[in-house]
Amino acid sequence: MPKILVYAEQSGGKPAAIALEILTKARDLGDAEAVTLGAGAESAAAVLGKHGARTVYVNEDGAFDEYVAEPQTDALEALVQKAAPDLLLFGFTPDSREVAGRLAARLDVGLISNAQDVQAVGGGFSAKVPYFGGARVATMQALNSPAVVLLRPKSFEASEAGGESRIEKLEAAVGEGSKRARIADRVQEAGEKVKLEEARIVISGGRGMGGPENFPLLEPLAAALGAAVGASRAVVDAGWVPYAMQVGQTGKTVAPSVYIACGISGAMQHTVGMKSAKVIIAINKDAEAPIMKIADLGVVGDALKIVPKLTEAVKAKKAG
């Protein structure tokens, strides 16, 4: 049986949703193990065990919470030496990307990033990656050992598994030289109202909203529908709205019952984060925009005019 090691992000003793998704997949591929670091790791380990990790390696050194990427890389390097996994799995998230990149360079192995599936093939591993604007799927075979694959959020559904699991303290020396990029402060900005990933309805705005001053138009519609508000990378990059609202390859992946895209053209960067929605409604001035090719309903028109009218119509229906 190949040995699969999952790097599980956790916060305050709660594993990240993606860690449980990946573990659920990992246990189908071989003997699954997990590693989780920082304050709360031991509590997180119990949940990881329930999701199929036979061994969970933990280390609660404060350096993992205080410094970026390098202490985690040290710990993983030590663990790869010790546990000799055949496959290392990471989530395709900002924090895991940084650790995976450093680790791959240190181990001198390649990696397959942004994957949506991973398979055991002929004693090795291959991964499926969106290609050519998401219209195609490429299958990449990893040629290095260990193989390193980063998996997109929501690629698998997490479920608990039976079986025994044990927690092992990972004796990893974090080099003093790795305590360099220090997190001096954490600042909260305006928080989300309805959580994007959990919302039943998501309304997102893009460049077609015209400017940041028009973005609040989406709020009353969201309130009327009980929806969360998202955005395309273009408008996040332009500084109209905070990064927390970004839906797409490098933002959040959502799979709501209904997704309403307002003034979003539908670049792959965006669509890979929302194309699992059950129903997609697009409002766009351009009938040829790529979003129209994946929308169940495409309305060719000005989102700035349609959204307020839609808000009134929804309110009327709800009242009636």
Partner: protein, 254 residues
């Protein structure tokens, strides 16, 4: 302070992609300077201007026609550029790219390396952390704000619900988000001056880089499970809203 900015030429976001019969992406599209890199160049120029001294060096890897994209960065105000160009590096994966860039950067010993968080065309953002590791420097990433005070570099790193203030001593590698600075337009004077600025051509051999074995292999390209296009309607002032309400009712959300 010496600042090195990595830049890449990418297919023009406004042009259409197409595939060759063997499923590789057609390479003869219009290419432009990656829009994310323009933000990196802008933040480097602002740092130099604030400090009143220093040098901004651009580093790119790609075919010789990448010169046009580099020239744009020079016309914004960067001082000079290096282009790593070699047939042996065509189709390089992230690790080989990082190795070649790292070798070129080591010859320059900058105080600060600035990269975009991810490229426009690849969007996987794997090269910067690999590069930081190969250079042996810390990484300050997802920066939406960048400040240098003496040898201390501080960024505001974008997070889910706000930002972290992250700091490290130079030399460091910083990745910037496009929101960090609005790129300036090149002035006519800048465009004229860029013509005489140096773009030094470097080969893999100059850097002591060998192609080596690839770390992954493309096995197959298949059609993605496609969503079918549904109904597309022209809004006449009321029809759009009516259609949307009907779809919301069918989906049982109102």
């Amino acid at each position: 302070m010496k600042i090195l900015v990595t830049v890449k030429q990418v297919p023009d976001p406004n042009s259409q992609q197409s595939l060759e019969s063997d499923n590789t992406i057609v390479r003869d599209r219009e290419v432009v300077l990656d829009p994310g890199d323009e933000s990196g160049i802008e933040s480097a120029l602002q740092l130099k201007e604030k400090q009143g001294e220093g040098e901004v060096v651009l580093l790119s890897m790609g075919p010789e026609r990448a010169r046009d994209a580099i020239r744009k960065g020079l016309s914004m105000g960067a001082d000079r550029a290096i282009l790593v160009s070699d047939e042996a590096l065509a189709g390089a994966d992230a690790l080989l790219t990082a190795k070649a860039l790292a070798a070129a950067i080591k010859q320059e010993s900058p105080d600060l390396v600035i990269c975009a968080t991810e490229s426009y065309d690849g969007s996987t953002g794997m090269v910067p952390p690999m590069l930081a590791e190969l250079l042996g420097v810390p990484q300050l990433t997802f920066a939406k704000h960048l400040d240098v005070d003496g040898g201390k570099v501080t960024v505001h790193r974008q997070t889910e619900d706000g930002h972290q203030v992250v700091e490290a001593q130079a030399p460091v590698l910083v990745t910037v988000t496009a929101g960090i600075a609005e790129p300036r337009y090149a002035s006519l004077k800048g465009i004229m001056a860029a013509r005489s600025k140096e773009i030094k051509l470097v080969s893999a051999g100059d850097l002591g880089i060998q192609k080596g074995n690839p770390s992954e292999e493309l096995k197959e390209v298949a059609q993605a499970e496609a969503r079918k296009a549904g109904e597309v309607v022209e809004d006449d002032g009321t029809s759009g809203v009516e259609k949307i309400v009907a779809v919301l009712q069918t989906a049982k959300v109102i």
